[in-house]
Symmetry: C2
C-alpha cells in the first residue's frame, strides 16, 4: 500500500516530460549511424517500397544488423522515424484545403499534393494507401483528415461542383485508383498517374452517383483496416 503510493509519487515526479521524452540522448557515433540508417532506409523504400529487408538496409548503410535492430526494434519504429513528418505534411494539406472557399478546388489540390509526395516515394504511397502496414500515426492521420474531406465534399455537392451522392468513400476510391496506376507504372512511365488523376477526377465530377451510397464504414476499412 505505502509502496504503491510511493511508486505513484515517484511517477508523478518525473512523469510528463519523461513519459513523452524518455530518450537518453544517443552517443555521437550512435546518432551518426542512426541518421545513416534512416537515410539509407528512406532511399531504398523510395524505390523498392516498404518491405525492404533489414539486412538490405544494414548492408547498404554499411553497418551490422545488430545496429539496425538496436535502433529500430521493429518495423513500426523505423516507419515512424522515417515517415511521421511526411504524414504531418499531408495532414497539413488537408487542413489547408479545408480552409478554401472553393471546395472542389480544395479537394483537387489536396489530392494532388498527397500524390506528388507519394510519387517521390513508393514507401509513402504504400503507407498512405495500403492499409496493411499502417502505423498508428497513419491511422490517426486518416481519422483526422476524413472529416475534413467529408466536409469539403459536402460543400462541393452543395455548390453543384460534385454530383449528388458523392461520398468520402468515392474520394478515397479515387485516391486508391490513381495510386494503383502510379505503382504499376513507376519506372517506365513516372507521369502516367497524372493522366489517371485527370480521368478519375473528371469521373468523380460527372459520374451518376445517385445509386445507393457505399456504407459509411467503407472509407475506414479502405484506409485503416489491417489486411
Amino acid at each position: 500500500m505505502e509502496n504503491k503510493f510511493n511508486l505513484e509519487f515517484f511517477f508523478h515526479l518525473d512523469s510528463v516530460d519523461h513519459v513523452t521524452d524518455p530518450a537518453p540522448p544517443l552517443r555521437r557515433d550512435a546518432e551518426r549511424n542512426r541518421q545513416l540508417l534512416l537515410r539509407t532506409a528512406y532511399e531504398l523504400m523510395a524505390t523498392e517500397g516498404l518491405d525492404v529487408s533489414y539486412e538490405d538496409i544494414a548492408r547498404a548503410a554499411g553497418t551490422g544488423m545488430g545496429t539496425m535492430y538496436r535502433r529500430f526494434p521493429d518495423r513500426q519504429d523505423l516507419l515512424n522515424a522515417l515517415f511521421n513528418d511526411h504524414i504531418d505534411t499531408v495532414i497539413g494539406f488537408a487542413e489547408q484545403a479545408a480552409q478554401r472557399d472553393d471546395a472542389w478546388a480544395g479537394l483537387i489540390w489536396f489530392l494532388e499534393q498527397q500524390l506528388e509526395i507519394e510519387a517521390r516515394s513508393r514507401g509513402v504511397g504504400e503507407l498512405l494507401r495500403s492499409r496493411s502496414q499502417a502505423t498508428a500515426a497513419v491511422q490517426r492521420a486518416h481519422d483526422r483528415m476524413t472529416p475534413l474531406v467529408a466536409e469539403l465534399i459536402a460543400r462541393a455537392v452543395r455548390a453543384g461542383q460534385l454530383p449528388a451522392g458523392a461520398t468520402p468513400a468515392d474520394f478515397a476510391a479515387v485516391h486508391v485508383m490513381v495510386g494503383s496506376v502510379m505503382d504499376a507504372s513507376r519506372g517506365f512511365a513516372p507521369q502516367l498517374w497524372r493522366r489517371a488523376l485527370t480521368i478519375a477526377l473528371a469521373g468523380l465530377r460527372h459520374a451518376d452517383l445517385s445509386g445507393d451510397p457505399p456504407d459509411e464504414t467503407v472509407i475506414d476499412h479502405l484506409y485503416n483496416e489491417k489486411k
Copy 2:
C-alpha cells in the same frame, strides 16, 4: 539434308494432335488427385490470390506436397491448368465487343465482363492485371486483345463517344484502377468496384485527354512486363 526432310515429314505425321497433347493419360487415382488439387487451388486463389503456398494447397487438398510437385512442377504449370480457360473466355469477350456497332457500348461491356470474372476470383484479377506472374498465355491474350481495344477506342473517338486523345493505355489504366479498388475492398465491400467503374468510365468519357498521349509502349509495360 535427307535427315532434315525426314524429320519434317515425321513432324507432319503425328503433329497437331500430339504436339498439343503429348500427355500419356494419367492413372485413375492420379487424375482424381489432380482434379482435387486444381479445385482446391482454385478456391484458395479465389480468396487469397495467386501466391498461396504449395504447402497450403496440398494440405487443404489432403495430399502430400510431393503430389503437388509431381503434377505441377512449377507455378506456371498450375496457373496454366487453372486459368487458361478463363483467359480464353476473356479473349472471347474482346472479340465479341469488337463486333459491336456501338464502340463505346462494346468497350464498357468488355471491361465489365472482365471485371465480373475478376470479382469472382482474386487470382484471375492478379493474373490479368499484375504483370508480375503473367503466364505466356496471359501475355498472348493481351497481345491479341490490345489491337481490338485500340480499334474500338479509335472508333469511339471518331463517333464522338470518347474525347480526342483517348488511347488504349487510358483504357488499361481504367482497368487497373477499378481492379485496385476491387482488391482493396474484397471482403468488406465486394460491390464497391462497380462504383469505381462508374466513376472511371465517366472520367474516360469526360476528361480532357488532349495533352501529350502516353507512349505507345506503356500499355505493354502495364500488362506484360515482368515486375
